[in-house]
Amino acid sequence: MKDLLNYPFDSHAVIRKKKAIKRELLGGKETFQDCRVAILGGSTTSELRDILELFLLKKGLKPSFYESNYNRFFEEAVFENARLDFFNPQYVIIHSGIVNIESYPDFADSQQDVDDKIKKTIEKFEMIWTRLFEKYCCEIIQNNFELPHYRILGNLDAVDHRGRVNYVLDLNKEFALAARKKPFLHINDVHYLSSMLGIKEWFDPSYWYLYKYALSFTAIPLLCYNVASIIGAIIGKSKKLVVVDLDNTLWGGVIGDDGVSGIKLGKDTPQGEAYLEFQNYLKCLKNRGVMLAVCSKNEMVSAQEGLMHPDSVLKIDDFAAVKANWEPKDSGINKIAAELNIGQDSIVFVDDNPAERELVLGNMPGVEVPNIGSDVVRFPEIMDRAGFFETVSLLKDDLHRNEYYNQNVNRLQDEGKFGNHDEYLISLQMTAEIGEFNRTYIERITQLTNKTNQFNLTVKRYMQAEIEETLENPEFIGLYGKLRDKFGDNGLVSVMLGRITDFRNIHIDLWVMSCRVLNREMEFAMFNEFVGKCVKKGINVIYGYYFPSAKNGIVSDIYSRIGFNKVRETETGATVWMFKPTKKHKRITHKIEIKGLFHGNE
C-alpha cells in the first residue's frame, strides 16, 4: 500500500486510500523522528495536511501539525498568536497563491504604479517571513505563484506592465531574490509544478467555490510531495548516489553481444540520441555533486569497452565505483555502499529491467527504485521529477564531493601497500585545520550537522540560525575541522559543539564527522583541540552524550575509547560520560598535523 507513494504516483489513489496508507506506515517497525509543521494557508489546507503527513512518514518523519484558520496566514504569522507560540513550529509552510494577491495592476497604472504594487506585496510577505523567523527560528517554505487562470490581454498579458501574467512572473522573481538572501526561506516552486501539470489541471474552479481549495485534488499530492522533498533536503534525507545499469539503460543494446560498434549511443539514431541525453542528465547530476556508480551484469572488460564508446558522455572516471559481474544486483549495490561508506537510504537504483528493480526493491528497502519503465526517452524526466536530489543550497563542498570520493579510491588502493593501518595513516601526511565556528563556514557546518547519520553522537538537528546563535557566544565552544592529505583536500568534515553551564561544565551537544574520513583519527584530532579550548576556558568537566539511532552504532563506544567514564545508561541505550580535561592532556593522535587556516579551494 505504501508503494502507492513511490514516484510516479497516482494522485487519486493516494487521496482515496490515504487512511489505509497511513495505517500501514505507522504499523511498520520503523522508528520516526518527530517534527512540528505549521501550515498557514491562504485557502483550505486540510487535505494538504493529510497528504503531506503521508509523504513525511515515508521519509521517517512523524509530523504534528498546526493549521491556521482559513485565509489567516498573514495575521497568524505577524500578530500575537499564543496558539502558534505554544506549538513552536520547526517548519512553517505558507500556502498562498494567486487567489491571495490583493492588488493587481490596473489598466491606468504606470510602470511606477505597478512597481509600487509589487513592492507592497513583497513587503507584506517579508513581514511574514521576518516575524516567523524572529519568533520561532524556523525554516519557512513559501509557495511562489502559479500563472493566472485567465489573460485579459491575451498574449500581451506576459509583456505589458499591466498584464497579470507579467506581474506574477515579477513577483516570483522577487521571491527568488528574497530566498537567496534568507537561508531559512525555501521556495516551493508552484509555478513549475503547476506548469508541469498544466494550470488547467492545477486549479479546479468548483473546488474553489465549494470548498475554497486553491488547487485541485490531482495537484495536492504533487504539491505535498514537493514540500516533503524540501523538508527532507533540509534535514539531509536527499539521495547521494545513483547506481545505474549499463545495457539498455546507458546505451541501447547489449554490449557483450553487440560490441562497441553495435550499441546505440550518439546522434546517429533517435534511440542513440535519447541514451546520449540520459547520459548528459546523469553527468549534470555528477557535476552538481551526486555520485554515480555502475552495477551491471556484464564482464568488466565489456563494461569498460562500452564506456569508451566515442560518443559516451560518461567515462569510467565519472563513476565512484563500477561493479560489472554476474552477481545478484542487491549484493553489488551493497558492496558499492560499503566501499563508498554510504547508507542504503542514500541510493537511487536505475535499471530498465523490471525484474532487477523488483529484486532490489524487495531486498533493499532503503534504496529508491523509480519505475523508469523501459523507454529511455522518459528516463530523465522520471528521475528528475522524483526530486531525489532536492537540495536547499549548492555549496562548494557539494561540487567537490566526487573528487573527495575519487581520492578515497586512490587511498584505498594505497592502503593495501602498507603492513598496518598506522603506517598507512602516517603515509597520508594528513594536516588538519581546526577552528572555531565562523560565518564563512556556517552553511557547511549546518549541512554537515543535518546530513550526517553514522558518526553522529546525539543525532540532534540544528537550524542554521541556531548555529549562528553560538557564534562569538561565550557559552559555547563550536569547532569545525577540515582535513587534507597527500591525495587532496577532504573539505570541512567534522563539527563539535559544546554548551557551557555554571562556567565549569561543558556538554557536547553535537559531534559529527563525515563518513568519508572514517578511520583516519580525525575524531581524535578534533577532541584534542576541543580539550585545549576547554582548558583555556577553565572547564572542569566535559560531559559526553551518546543517543543511539538506527545508524550511529559505530560511535557507541567512542567516549570510552578516548578516556571518558560512563556516568549513566538508560534503558534505551543512551549513555552519559564524563571527562576531566587537564593541561597535560595526552594527545591521542600524532598522525595529523594541526595547521593554521587553509587557503585555496574551499
Binding site: 487519486h12 487521496i15 482515496r16 486510500k17 487512511k19 489505509a20 495505517r23 486540510s46 487535505e47 493529510d50 468548483s206 473546488y207 467555490y209 465549494l210 470548498y211 481549495y213 485534488f217
Partner: protein, 79 residues
C-alpha cells in the same frame, strides 16, 4: 451500467476513503450517516467518484446529494 454495479463501485470507493473493512449500504442510506463521515471525507468522496466514473459534478449537483440513490442517479445520468 446497472444500478447494482454502480452501488458496488460506490461502496468500494466509500470503504477506501473511510478505511472500512465492511460496509452495508442501500440506495436509501444517507451519506451523512456513514461511520466516520465529515466534511473532508465528503470532498474526497466526490473527487474520487468523479475520477472513478470519469464524470464532472457541478456545484448544484454536489450540494443536492443526500443519499446513495442521489449519487447513483447522477452517475447514471452523466455516463
Amino acid at each position: 451500467m446497472e444500478t447494482n454495479e454502480i452501488i458496488g463501485t460506490v461502496k468500494k470507493v466509500i470503504m477506501d476513503i473511510l478505511d472500512l473493512h465492511d460496509l452495508e449500504i442501500t440506495p436509501a442510506t444517507k451519506i451523512n450517516s456513514l461511520e466516520g463521515w465529515d466534511s473532508l471525507t465528503q470532498i474526497n468522496l466526490y473527487s474520487s467518484l468523479a475520477h472513478e466514473f470519469s464524470i464532472k459534478l457541478t456545484i448544484d449537483e454536489v450540494e443536492n446529494i443526500k443519499t446513495i440513490a442521489d449519487i447513483v442517479d447522477l452517475i447514471r445520468e452523466k455516463r
